[in-house]
């Protein structure tokens, strides 16, 4: 059985705890990237991560891009929506097609 994790600042992810996800508040970890790799090695299938935190450890996240598991999903935090999640999809389109053909679709 796989588990679900949520990483990010406390206020953004507290709610996820009540759903039964495992939360990893940013201020409790020394190095978010290490935590991420640690989670990926354990049986976490899905890791939700706030966009603001994701943008800081983008390189580490990209390492899991071509692996089937875990899935790392950027979500908007309390600090607002930066559009990073949408940009990630646009990047996938660009990688496959050569240019982002679905920009306004």
């Amino acid at each position: 059985m796989y588990k679900i994790a949520a990483m990010g600042d406390r206020d953004s992810i507290y709610g996820f705890a009540s759903l039964g996800m495992h939360i990893f508040p940013e201020d409790r970890m020394e190095n978010p990237a290490t935590t991420l790799h640690h989670l990926a090695e354990q049986d976490f299938a899905v890791i939700f991560i706030t966009e603001s935190l994701a943008s800081r450890i983008q390189e580490d996240i990209d390492r899991y891009k071509d692996r089937p598991l875990p899935v790392i999903v950027p979500i908007p935090g309390v600090s607002g929506n930066t559009g990073a999640g949408m940009r990630a999809i646009a990047q996938a389109v660009e990688r496959a097609v050569g240019s982002d053909i679905l920009k306004d679709a």
Binding site: S18, V46, V71, I75, V78, G85, I89, A92, V93
Partner: protein, 222 residues
Amino acid sequence: MAGTQINPTRMELTRLKKRLITARRGHKLLKDKRDELMRQFLEIVRETRRLRRMIEEALTETNQHMSVARSLMNDESLAISMLYHKQEISLAVEEKNIMSVRVPVFKTNFRTADPGDIYSYGFAFTSCELDEAVQALSDLTDPLIRLAEKEKACQLLSSEIEKTRRRVNALEHVMIPRYLFQIRFITMKLDESERSSITRLMKVKDMMIEKTIRARKASDEA
């Protein structure tokens, strides 16, 4: 092409012709694969975008509730209400095969059967904004998991498409032209050597005829 040593022999020619046929067939197959992957990919991307837009809007709203709740409650009581959760979510992972790309499919399991078991706190000391946030989040659980599936499918498909596209291009622009060039080179070489051997034979024959004519003339004169 230049710099590669080609043996202008018939055996080499047959071998190259066979490889050219294989390359052409592979090119056609890969092209079909790429087109189908692309079709599937674009469909999934459209869904992902729709889902993500929906989730982002909903989450922004939830976050507003959460911020209000936070401002109404002190850190400690909020932490206490959130940390002792009853519910536990777990995932069973299955695989789905899209054009031989394996993408994960998740099945959610809750520890307690009651979907209302999301309120891990008494209602007396918490803000109602917190209830709203938690309720909204619980409605979002399934969409969030679907989004995770879809985004992974997008990433895996896009890398597969990229690989396939490279292979198609390599076959189309490098391998097939190279085989064509080598085949033409060998055919021309073989034709050339055939012509030269014919001319040589003709020349030898001429020389032999001349010799006999001269010999006959000499015997006639004698």
